[in-house]
Amino acid sequence: MSDFFTVALLTATLRMATPLVFAAMGGLLSERSGVINIALEGMMLTGAFFAVAGTHWTGTPWLGLVVGVAAASVAGCIHAFWCITLRGNQIVAGTAINLIAAGLTAFLIQIIWGRAGGSDSVSKMPDLFGRVNILIVGAFVITPLVHFYLFRTKQGLHTMASGESPQAAESVGINVTRNRYLAVVASGALAGCGGAFLSIANLSYFTLDMTAGRGFIALAAVIFGGWNPFGAAAASLLFGAAQAVQIQAQATSGFPISTDLLVALPYLLTLIAVTGLVRNSPAPAGLGKHASAH
């Protein structure tokens, strides 16, 4: 039992939490600006795929990361265009992006690598000190950055105002449309970064549906974390730890806790959190609302 909680478990936790942290920060920005983002899953998948494709084309994982993040930002642009400019239903748009991402990545695998199911291996992003991936460090940096941006910069405060009360924000001259666009495109970029971590840092290839619902877990982390960057990061770490323990327990015989309960933990905790029965911060008041009624 004592050798269960090891450095290996710690690094596994960080590896599992990193993509969640990135995607959660993205989801947080989008939701704080007032745009519901259930497209995180599709954005992560897009990022994961194009990071491998970019690495495949350029031979450099760094450029692959750039390609992945750029592609996921495009997904963010589409979500923003549908939700903000067209004033379409934000949940419908998110559902569509998730479907398109799943279909398009499966479609493109066969065009690029000529086979179904997965890509060829590409080179991985380098590890620092041969152990910790640079994106894991990035996840620790991005959280305070997002916090600083939202709560300490003018632009960030305007973003939150757009999410709390779009009409009031607009009436004092805040450009709600621009703030929301920025936030949603940034959420695409961040979710894409999380996806890229899965494909070119944690592994070195893309497989079908490799995000496996992590975008939704990240969304759960945003809600469980009370729409607060540090809260969301802590929730991501908790959910990542649950996955890490589960993976390690599979390899260890006689582990006392039911691991199936552990993997269900993010969903159960989030279900309890949204009922508001436990003390929790409310969602941004202007979530899903438009700036001015036509």
Binding site: R87, V92, L99, G103, A106, F107, G213, A264, S281, P282
Partner: protein, 377 residues
């Protein structure tokens, strides 16, 4: 051009345009990938409609999509966005398979209805939970249904892998044991896979149509969906109505799962089929109208059934169908959104309460969390 609730022709025209736009965009994707879109769509249509077997397959695919689309439509009519169809469907399919695979020495006349009923109850519970949570605490159904989807997947995986001692499951095939012959939905067209599930789907559509438009309960559901305030003013119990609507939606989705496990596959597999997400597209394209859902379910069934032929004959991989589904959803969303823009409206102010949407105006999902939630601090 105001689309009023009830102007079925305008609604249908909008859906047809949306589908055509999606097919056109899909053609661009196919062309960019270096294939001939005309060739692709022609072989897709040939595969789905060109033979007796193909037509049967289209109906096989359409059956769960029609039921899933109905599950979306009922909830949407009550103002609820049901993303939980996938979870309701798999839990229904799983429970139906468990009942169907258990040997109680029952005759078909008892065993089959029992298995179908079990699926409806299981799906109904999975729909009741988010409905009741919304009614009791205001918890947003989009979040709760997403979480319940994954809880359903986890519960099924756990049962299949760990509970071989209690349940008729087989970890080796990652599914339940085979459903006994006494609980199988019969094949209704010789030498094809077409099973009675499609009959269940059509009957359900007619029943739901009747309930929604010709009963007091349906009137309540639609009132709640159109205007929370008006419903309350009229003495309709909002919470109870959405809880029942979601339970009904879940039960219908459960029936879709029963069709898959008792009819098509003869067992339930742990891998989620993704049908619940296509069902959202079916509901949207069908404009949340049971009869519209039949047609859009058939359309999506045709797309799925023809995809393998398209892949074999035109070389376009069948995953393009998923892309098409997503594009259809985007096109419908854009179409609905455009109908709200002033340029497209004859009436200037004030906007009609329904804003031209069947069911609640889903573009304004309202608060993600209860008004009862204490403020920060």
């Amino acid at each position: 051009m105001t689309i009023r609730p009830g102007s079925a022709i305008v609604n249908a025209a909008g859906s047809v345009v949306a589908v055509l736009v999606a097919l056109l965009l899909g053609a661009v994707v196919i062309m960019v990938s270096g294939h001939d879109p005309w060739d692709a769509y022609r072989s897709l249509a040939e595969g789905a409609l060109g033979s007796r077997r193909g037509r049967a397959e289209s109906l096989v695919y359409a059956a769960p999509l029609i039921l899933g689309g109905l599950a979306f439509a009922i909830a949407a009519r009550a103002g609820m966005f049901n993303i939980g169809i996938e979870g309701q469907l798999v839990i229904g399919g799983f429970v139906a398979a468990l009942v169907g695979a258990t040997d109680w020495n029952l005759p078909t006349a008892v065993h089959l209805p029992l298995a179908v009923l079990a699926a409806a109850i299981a799906g109904g519970i999975w729909g009741f939970i988010p409905g009741a949570m919304k009614a009791a605490t205001g918890a947003h159904e989009v979040i709760t249904t997403i979480m319940l989807n994954y809880l359903a997947f986890r519960l099924i995986t756990y049962s299949i892998q760990k509970r071989e001692d209690w349940l008729p499951v087989d970890p080796a095939v990652q599914g339940t044991e085979r459903v006994l012959d006494t609980a199988r939905l019969p094949v209704i067209l010789d030498l094809t896979r077409l099973h009675a599930g499609v009959v269940i789907a059509l009957v359900a559509a007619v029943v739901i149509w009747f309930v929604l438009f010709h009963t007091t309960f349906g009137y309540k559901v639609r009132t709640v969906g159109l205007s929370h305030g008006a419903a309350r003013y009229g003495g309709i119990r909002w919470g109870l109505t959405i809880a029942i609507s979601m339970t009904l939606a879940g039960a219908i989705a459960g029936l879709a799962g029963a069709g898959e496990s008792l009819g098509l596959h003869g067992r339930h597999s742990a891998t989620p089929p993704g049908l619940g997400f296509t069902a959202i597209a079916v509901g949207l394209v069908g404009r949340n109208h049971p009869i519209g859902v039949i047609f859009s379910g058939l359309l999506f069934g045709i797309l799925s059934a023809g995809a393998p032929t398209m892949q074999a004959n035109a070389g376009v991989s069948k995953e393009i169908v998923l892309v098409l589904q997503g594009l259809v959803i985007l096109a419908v969303a854009a179409f609905e959104a455009m109908n709200r823009l002033p340029a497209f409206r004859k009436v200037a102010l004030p906007p009609p309460p329904s804003r031209g949407n069947p069911g609640r105006d889903l573009s304004e999902p309202g608060e993600l969390i209860s008004r009862r939630t204490p403020p920060v601090g």
